[in-house]
C-alpha cells in the first residue's frame, strides 16, 4: 500500500493508518466459502494513542520476537456498494491494540 497511508512512532505507540475510497469487493457474509464479490469502496482512519505499557515477547517455536506498547485505538470507518452504505458512529471503544517492533523468520535471532 501507499506508505503515506501510515504514520507511526513505535517509540511512543502513536500511529495513524488511513485510506479513502479504497476499492474493495463485498463478498457478503465472508470470503471463506468463495462467491463473487460486489464492487465497493471503503474509507477509514485508525488512530493509536501514545502509551508506556511496554511488553517484550520472544516465542521461539514460531520464530518471532518483538517489543510492543499496548495502547488504545479508535477507528472511523465508512463504505458503500451500489445498494448499501455503512458509517461508524464516533467514540467507539478500543478492544485491544499494540504497536511495536518485531523480527521473524530469518531475522529471528
Amino acid at each position: 500500500m501507499n506508505p503515506n497511508h501510515v504514520i507511526v512512532n513505535p517509540a511512543t505507540g502513536r500511529a495513524t493508518y488511513h485510506a479513502a475510497d479504497l476499492p474493495m469487493g463485498d463478498y457478503g457474509a465472508n470470503a471463506f466459502t468463495g462467491g463473487t464479490p460486489v464492487p465497493g469502496i471503503v474509507s477509514f482512519v485508525v488512530d493509536w494513542s501514545p502509551s508506556q505499557n511496554r511488553h517484550t515477547y520472544r516465542y521461539a517455536p514460531n520464530r518471532w520476537e518483538g517489543t510492543f506498547l499496548q495502547t488504545n485505538v479508535t477507528c472511523n470507518w465508512s463504505g458503500a456498494t451500489a445498494t448499501s452504505a455503512f458509517t461508524t458512529n464516533t467514540n467507539n471503544p478500543s478492544i485491544f491494540a499494540e504497536v511495536g517492533y518485531e523480527r521473524s523468520g530469518v531475522f529471528f535471532q
Binding site: G28, A29, R63, W77, A85, T87, Y101, F107
Partner: protein, 160 residues
Amino acid sequence: MKSHRLSPAAQLFAQPHVHGALTRRQFLQAGAALATLGAGTGLIAPQSALAAPALLPAAPRPIPYGTQFLYPDPTIFHVQAPGYPLPNPPFDTNPAINNPATITDFNGVVGLGYVGGQGTHIDLTTHQTSSVYWEVDMRFMIGDYIAVDGRQYHATFGFV
C-alpha cells in the same frame, strides 16, 4: 436504537458481529476473509517506499502458522488474533505467543487494533436506516522482508 442483522455490504464493511446473531469467532472469520480479499484487490500488495514503479517488490511469505477460524474445520488461516477476547480453549490469544504480523521473514514495525461500536447502515434502495454493532481488525506492517523470490525488500502493508 436497536440492532439488526446486517446486509452483506455492511457485513463486509464493518466485519461485524451483531449481538445474538454472530459470535466472536464468526467475526474473526470475517476479518480473515477480508485479509484475503485485500490481497485480491491490491490492498495488501506491497509497494516499495524507495523503488521506482518498474521495480515493485515481490510478494511476502505469509506466517507459516495461523488460526482455525472455522474450528473444528482443520483449515489454517495465516493470521493470529493477539489480545482478542476469545474462549480459551480452543483459542489462545495471549499476545506473548500470537504474532500480530501476517507475514514472516519480516523485520519492522507492526500496529494492530481491534475496535467495536455502533454504526448506521443505509439500504440505498429503500433508504431504510438501521443501527448495527460492528467490529474491525486493522493492522499495518512497515519494514524489510524476504519475499517469495528470496530477495529482501522494504514495503508497507495494510490489513483490513
